[in-house]
């Protein structure tokens, strides 16, 4: 349990709370992207690079992408 691991776990907790506290769905999508990145760092530090690759692709690329498409459709604004 070294400093790097503690810092990254705290970062996950803080960014996760930030995602929950962001109320606007559009902004929440961006926050979810940041969360995916921080989680991926934690996974690499815990020696799970396969999980980290999946987490970056799914959490930072697809989740915000799909949320943005859905929000654009339901608001009727330009994507």
């Amino acid at each position: 349990m070294n400093l790097l691991l503690v810092v990254s776990m705290l970062a996950v907790a803080v960014v996760g709370t930030g995602v929950v506290l962001t109320r606007d769905p559009l902004r929440q999508a961006a926050a979810a992207g940041a969360f995916g990145l921080v989680m991926a760092v934690l996974f690499v530090l815990l020696r799970a690079p396969d999980a980290a690759i999946s987490e970056i692709a799914v959490g930072s690329v697809f989740i915000p992408g799909l949320v943005l498409f859905a929000v654009a459709k339901t608001r009727g604004e330009d994507g």
Partner: protein, 250 residues
């Protein structure tokens, strides 16, 4: 339930969970020093018995391949469900992409973005393909390679325009690809049944540790699952994009 009562319930629950979680975490073996029984069994099994350097991939596509086939079935159901829900209804119609028709100068990505896109999409697609081809040798594997390739497909929309994305992620061509890839995984499994060793047994020659053709059926299943995942996720993205940019209700 009034907000204050909810908050109180939360705090009671959080304290109870905390009182249980702290000793539980304390009782775990130290990070990096787990004398874990499962690890001690799996690593020699994958390295010696299956000649695969990446134990995670060996577990996913050989020792517990049945779970991976189940996951592919879930992905298949999710893609089919999405295509069904986002189909064009009688009272809706498909049109030219609305944003690009209404404000063509806005919808055009700047030349700098397009230039970055040309390099980035190609690079990402290559990284994804490398991950599936070498999943049994270095971190990565079928699912990881598949999601990275699907990410490259989404980037075509983000960094270029909808027309290019639509031409690439054409559901009429991708659906058979996804279906065939999953069917091929099941066929590889059946080959195991035919040799009498059981469904999804490793039936191809094992090769030497660390070389590309090693691990028997593991690289084959890797590539097939990667193709299925890349095609499936691209279909989901194409359906969402079509629904947002093209379909108009009346």
């Amino acid at each position: 339930m009034i907000p204050r009562a909810r908050l109180l319930l939360f705090f009671v629950g959080a304290i109870a969970v905390g009182l249980l979680a702290v000793p539980a975490f304390g009782a775990l073996p130290a990070l990096g020093h787990a004398g874990d029984l499962v690890g001690d069994v799996l690593v020699p099994l994958s390295v010696e018995a299956r000649r695969t350097a990446n134990t995670v991939t060996a577990t996913m596509f050989d020792m517990r391949a049945i779970d991976t086939v189940g996951e592919e079935a879930i992905l298949f159901a999710a893609v089919a469900g999405t295509s069904l829900l986002l189909r064009i209804l009688r009272e809706e119609r498909e049109e030219e992409p609305e944003i690009e028709a209404r404000a063509p100068q806005v919808a055009q990505r700047s030349p700098a973005v397009r230039l970055v896109g040309v390099g980035l999409v190609g690079l990402l697609a290559l990284v994804g393909l490398t991950m599936f081809a070498q999943g049994h040798l270095s971190p990565g594997g079928g699912f990881q390679g598949g999601v990275v390739v699907a990410g490259a497909v989404l980037l075509v929309y983000l960094l270029h325009d909808y027309a290019a994305f639509d031409a690439l992620a054409d559901t009429d061509r991708l659906e058979p690809v996804e279906g065939l890839a999953i069917a091929a995984m099941l066929a590889v499994g059946t080959a195991g049944l035919l040799t009498g060793e059981g469904f999804l047994a490793n039936v191809l020659p094992l090769g030497d540790l660390g070389t590309l053709p090693s691990g028997g059926t593991i690289p084959v299943l890797n590539v097939l699952s990667g193709v299925a995942v890349a095609a499936g996720i691209s279909i989901i993205l194409a359906e969402f994009a079509e629904q947002t940019l093209r379909v108009r209700g009346d």
